[in-house]
Symmetry: C2
Subunit: 488 residues, 2 copies
């Protein structure tokens, strides 16, 4: 292996890792080839052995290297581009997306792990008998025509049913202002493409939904972070960010924020809209949990306050994800652009699925499901908040959501919560480290906990195990008890 | 209305149309406002009245103006951006896509129109009872888990079933090299993003599938046209085009080409692959009708000959479109990039749908459906080719496909077939004008006819009506009988 030249001022382990990765990608290191031992490489380039070990470990995490106990560290065959396919050079956007994806945590799995990290709703709660009945009905009623293409806007009956629900929430919209799409995730991909092109920015809250970052990076777009407090995005920072000509829109989750769980105050809503209007920039409102207020109250969307909002909705968290149905509501040129983008992207969605969902909404199945879901969510939220109060060390703070599945916990001592993940997994509990919700992927002393897949007993067991891991790390921390800056 | 300044060397009617469009978009012309009469505007700017009329007509086609007989020409209210949403400035890519979409023909519809323009398979042929049975079975077997998210790669049973079929066609692939997606149309959108970023080019055949152009334009990509003959793309042109550094890949439809219906010869396949290899550029192979050989023969995909191919498949034409399931097959870094792009775009597809399709494939339902479909397709093809031979004027030529639904007809006199569309509609028949398959949208003396939605009797009636319209236009053409260049 050619030796790396260490010269660019970044952390040395990263320079070594980048060099090895480059050699693999260029085909200079073959699949199965053994790397120099940590000791040999450290001696030859004159760095600490821990530094080389850290570089190798990060490449093992990326899937490029594999360590065989007693034998050494090897290049994984799957990591090496096939010599017969030299021409498949990927677009730089895709390389950027891959680097981002590789930096995400890989969670363990197992029967006894408490999945406090997951925002996938519990399959035990899915009303699939209702769906199957509705599906059979619409296929019987509408026949083969239903299995042809639909328009890019989606099935008219589901748009009409959603328009009625949205009007009840204060959005004065008709069915023709709603475009159905493939989950709110496709909604995000389409909405950001409406306003921004490569190398332009979308302002996002920090923290924000991790997958919006992937959607942006894969399109060559960038994220400009706007810090939050419990009332919503900080207005001075938002105003400064939206004033930048290369920032084209603001993506926000005003109700039951992901990952924070908080809901934007009424006063902040008006300030956010005023800031966006002043900058002449649109708002993309992700209302993915709008139907999940724990007491069934209606949370008015931002869309109800301003026309320059593109509103995203999804059935994934309130019903089940597997139908892959969400919606985008927009007006004027944005609506026209969305229809063209949706058509250009995948022509049409599945009409039988959308017709079946419309049948469920019209029959009241969806509202009955929400009514059954709410007490479960309330009980789980109380269990989580109670367990946090009982178990967490002093100095820990957390949000108290009125809806949705997620709670944001900030630890009271300097730590990167990524560093707790391995110990927590061993202790039987999974959480989502705060870093994955940061646009720059940087360290965070926060974590997101959810009650999407966990019953009350699991929640209590999981939080107890997690609190123990947190206390152990706090006690081992050099700055134990301090509340200073996060260490990197 | 402010008068246009005519100064940029483009056709004058276009300059006038662009000026009026700009005034509408900028809000300087209000919805409902009357435009100057053709005579008044022509006099004031010193151009021919026909030129102004042409400008107004093109804006009426775009939906920006409306003509009221006896009253004048007015700005359509829907064309004017709502004054309360000044901030929704769209990305230039979306504006470009919208301009492209507006230039597409708008087909009439009606009970008695023969839809020779449509590539949507006839719902009468969809085996929906098989699908409904398969759907009920997999929901009963797999339960609620099936309604959660799947991986971005799609349901393992459908990938395994497709891998077996693809291996039978000579592609040596495993299930893990297949990524399921939302129709071949989403496959196109993802595959081009793998290799090209904004302002870069994808080489395409001319003519090519109209929607690939929309997919490119909506992403800010461009199309570089490679002319075709009956054996496939012309190799000299392909070699020159792929040599350009800004051309990143070649999108091709080797079997049952859309719109030409032809299949690439074996010799041309090897030349195409050699040209792509020499340029170091990947091939994106759209095999959307690969299962539709009229005699059931297997057409080996290009993928079977070279690793640097990304292969797209779809159930939309061989089964039904409404399930929205297609696949992308790729290797190495392209596979890794596809998985990341698919995940970033919409997380996952609908697992119940994919599991039901897998059940149909495993049970033999799909092969039985293909066996039933083939004689129907053969009979319709024979009816279409027979009617063309009987009805079309001398000098007309057409392709003789071995599979799929589409036939390409070239007229033997100078004409833009767009100019025949209105008369053909009045005569009771629809066709797809050749211009919509040209990357530059320019005039074409060709048209695509299909047998997707038309029985034998309809085909015969439609072709007879169309031939009559063609003869009338030929006889009225100033260059009647000539085979010179297409007039613009």
């Amino acid at each position: 292996m050619r030796l790396p030249e260490l010269d660019d001022g970044r952390p040395v382990y990263r320079q070594i890792a980048d060099h090895v990765r480059g050699q693999i990608r260029a085909g200079a290191l073959a699949g199965g080839e053994r790397l120099p031992t940590i000791r040999a490489l450290a001696d030859r380039i004159g760095v600490n052995r821990d530094t080389v070990a850290q570089a190798y470990e990060s490449l093992i995490t990326e899937g490029l290297l594999t360590a065989v106990v007693g034998s050494g560290t090897f290049v994984r065959a799957a990591a090496v581009p096939d010599a017969s396919t030299p021409s498949l050079r990927l677009s730089p956007h895709v390389d950027w997306l891959l680097a981002h994806e590789r930096s995400r945590p890989r969670f363990g799995s197992g029967e006894n792990l408490v999945p406090l990290h997951s925002l996938i709703p519990d399959p035990d709660l899915y009303p699939i008998d209702d769906f199957r009945r509705a599906f059979d009905l619409v296929v019987a009623e509408d026949g083969a025509e239903l299995f042809s293409y639909g328009g890019p806007e989606g099935h008219p009956r589901l748009r009409a049913a959603l328009a009625r629900r949205f009007r009840d929430a204060g959005m004065g919209v008709g069915p023709d202002e709603i475009v159905l799409c493939h989950g709110a995730s496709q909604g995000i991909s389409l909405a950001v493409r409406l306003f921004a092109g490569p190398d332009e920015y979308i302002a996002v809250e920090e923290p924000t939904y991790a997958n919006v970052l992937s959607a942006l990076y894969g399109l060559g777009l960038r994220a400009a972070a706007v810090p939050m407090d419990d009332d919503g995005p900080e207005i001075d920072a938002l105003t400064r960010t939206l004033a930048r000509p290369d920032v084209r829109a603001f993506y926000t989750i005003p109700a039951f924020h992901n990952p924070r769980g908080t809901t934007m105050s009424d006063a902040r809503r008006h300030e956010v809209i005023a800031a966006a209007r002043a900058a002449g920039k649109p708002i993309i409102e992700d209302a993915f949990e709008m139907d999940l207020h724990h007491d069934g109250k209606v949370v008015r969307p931002l869309f109800a306050l301003d026309d320059a909002v593109v509103h995203l909705f999804s059935f994934s968290k309130s019903l089940f994800p597997g139908v892959r149905v969400g919606s985008i509501t927009a007006r004027g040129p944005a609506l026209e652009g969305l229809l063209a983008l949706k058509r250009a992207t995948d022509l049409s969605d599945s009409m039988p699925i959308q017709a079946a969902l419309a049948k469920m909404l019209d029959a009241g199945d969806y509202d009955r499901h929400l009514a059954r879901l709410r007490p479960t969510l309330r009980a789980r939220r109380e269990a989580l908040l109670g367990a946090l109060a009982r178990e967490m060390p002093a100095g820990t703070t957390w949000t108290k959501p009125e809806g949705g599945y997620q709670v944001w916990v900030e630890l009271g001592f300097p730590v990167d919560t990524r560093d707790l993940l391995a110990d927590a997994t061993r202790a039987g509990v999974l959480f989502a480290p705060g870093s994955q919700f940061r646009p720059d992927g940087g360290p965070s002393r926060a974590m997101r906990l959810t009650v999407a897949q966990t019953g009350v007993e699991q929640i209590e067991r999981g939080v107890a195990a997690l609190a123990k891991v947190i206390r152990e790390h706090r006690d081992a921390s050099p700055a134990a008890g301090s509340t200073g800056a996060v260490h990197v």
